[in-house]
């Protein structure tokens, strides 16, 4: 029992080490992060202005509601991008710096190694998402007085578990293809959001895509967050969105770790952990 406790302690210290490393790196690259944030703001604005554009060209829509719907979609897209980017970079960046072999030969379980990246990416992503929402909302005269931001945040946090699980699966891609693997993470992000109603209700999708949307955590995250912010839905009314997120989250993390272990084994067989020569 004592040995188990000691092992758990070491594992948690290791997880903290990954978070610590990412804090150091974020501090060193803070101006680059600011530049990327400006890009994200610009990108989000180009999407959110579409609502006003439709009205200006004669379309009849509730502009405030459409603007907020698009804003939530864009913020969730950006948030998901950060989570996937961090986790995929766990491998890609370390391969580039050459530290990956030192990390993989440390006595730290892969779950805690990746978990540390997940914890940091969620914290960092939440800060970025809140700032992005606030900055873009300033460009529009949105009536958000009745919004239940706390409930929206809880839904996003619960969804993060599933996003992390799927992110682990994408993190294995740089092990399989050192040159192109990291970019494939964006493909996973795009596929996930296209079926999840990122800027439209899933009911507009073809039947087969609508079915796929039922197993995407982003569908429930977007539904729940929109209900909380647009309709002021309290947390206790969001159970229909939260329980599927919990189920997908519980399934996706072990699945992600299993997929990663297969990729790691492949890389260790083929000598792909580090490119030499």
């Amino acid at each position: 029992m004592k040995a188990v406790a000691l092992t758990l302690k070491h594992e948690l210290i290791g997880l903290g080490g990954v978070v610590e490393r990412n804090v150091y790196l974020t501090r060193r690259y803070i101006w680059w992060d600011l530049a990327f944030f400006l890009w994200t703001v610009a990108n989000t604005l180009t999407i959110v202005f579409i609502a006003k554009g439709i009205e200006a060209t004669g379309g009849e829509i509730d502009v405030d509601r459409a603007t907020t719907t698009l804003l939530i979609g864009a913020v969730v897209w950006a948030y998901l991008g950060i989570i996937f980017e961090f986790i995929t970079e766990t491998v890609a960046w370390e391969r580039w710096e050459g530290t990956i072999e030192y990390t993989f030969m440390a006595p730290l379980s892969r779950a805690m190694h990746l978990g540390g990246t997940g914890v940091f990416s969620v914290l960092y992503g939440l800060v970025r998402a809140v700032l992005l929402f606030a900055v873009v909302a300033l460009f529009f005269d949105l009536a958000l007085g009745g919004a239940s931001f706390g409930a929206a945040l809880v839904v996003l946090l619960v969804a993060s578990v599933s996003f992390f699980g799927i992110g682990i699966m994408t993190a294995v891609l740089p092990l399989l293809s050192p040159e192109k693997g990291a970019q494939l993470g964006f493909v996973a992000q795009g596929l996930l959001l296209v079926v999840s109603g990122v800027y439209y209700p899933v009911s507009v999708l073809p039947a087969w895509m609508e079915w796929v949307s039922t197993i995407s955590p982003a569908t429930y995250a977007l539904e729940g967050i929109r209900a909380a912010i647009l309709d002021g839905a309290p947390l206790n009314s969001l159970w229909p969105q939260i329980w599927p997120l919990l189920v997908i989250g519980v399934a996706s993390i072990p699945l992600g770790l299993w997929v990663f272990s297969l990729g790691e084994r492949h890389a260790k067989r083929r000598g792909k952990l580090k490119r030499s020569g």
Partner: protein, 279 residues
């Protein structure tokens, strides 16, 4: 020729299993050749043991299989056949136990280059379960021991010379108190002074910590200066593993370089083409 090479130093045998026990280890990166069973594998059925507290040097040209051996022993590469055990723990079945015992310094001092030496060491120590309280005093102490100037601890690694970076790499390896230290060409590319400093530190570590050292190098002088036994690894095959004097006698050579030439039939500087080794 595949042979079993066992240390003549048997005094430590009673203390438990050898530090390293490699049996018929094979690794071939080329799938087609592997199926056909053709020669030219990175590791071609090597066998040897390293006793506790011993320092063994493995000599070989670039592409001879030295780094492959180090990667298998540090659980970073899965062998195609044979076995490797570190203090009795199988490197595949009991990888986590092996990782607690081993650390490594390789030819490239790999770090997050924007982070400082102290930052790189702090997070690396956490992976081995060391708390902030434990590393706060230990990191400055260990950096001091490798001769790293205290005033440069906060500088990004990218500002440091290659010799300085290699000192930090040594500090990183020693921070976790490994009982088996794998040194993969640790002084390649260093200036003569840095090379001597690193070598003297390796001696100190061995004396002070009773660590077992496996040194893979193509520096013959370094091998002779540091190792109890020297092995010649050629095209994935361990041709011999003996004390330097015995090796010279075996090949009727005056120097290790001559012994290497006689054993392999090639000059030491000849290099095996990289494409023959990796996929």
């Amino acid at each position: 020729m595949t042979q079993t090479e066992t240390s003549p130093t048997r005094a430590r045998r009673d203390e438990g299993p050898p530090a390293v026990d490699v049996l018929d280890l094979r690794k071939d990166f080329r799938r087609r050749r592997k199926r056909a069973g053709a020669g030219g594998a990175a590791l071609d059925g090597i066998r040897f043991t390293v006793e506790r507290g011993e320092c063994v040097a493995v000599l070989g040209q670039n592409g001879s299989g030295k780094s492959t051996l180090v990667r298998v022993l540090s659980t970073l590469l899965l062998a195609d056949g044979g076995s490797a055990r570190v203090f009795g723990h199988d490197v595949v079945a009991d990888a986590k136990a092996v990782r607690r015992l081993v650390n490594r310094v390789s030819v490239e001092a790999s770090f997050f280059k924007k982070l400082s030496a102290a930052e790189n060491l702090h997070y690396a120590a956490r992976f081995y379960g060391m708390t902030a309280g434990q590393t706060r005093g230990r990191i400055p102490e260990i950096l001091g021991r490798v001769g790293f100037p205290p005033e440069r601890r906060g500088e990004p690694m990218e500002n440091l010379s290659r010799g300085m970076q290699q000192k930090v790499a040594l500090a990183r390896a020693l921070l976790t108190s490994p009982v088996l230290l794998l040194l993969d060409e640790p002084t390649t590319g260093l200036d003569p002074r840095s090379k001597l400093e690193v070598q003297s530190f390796v001696r100190e570590v061995r004396a002070a910590h009773d660590a077992t050292i496996l040194l893979c190098t193509h520096d013959l002088v370094e091998a002779e200066a540091l190792a109890d036994r020297v092995g010649i690894l050629d095209r994935g095959r361990l041709l011999c593993l003996e004390p330097p004097a015995a090796l010279r006698r075996r090949y009727a050579a005056e120097t290790l370089e001559e012994a290497f030439f006689t054993a392999t039939g090639r000059e030491f500087e000849d290099e095996r083409p990289q494409e023959e080794v990796t996929a």
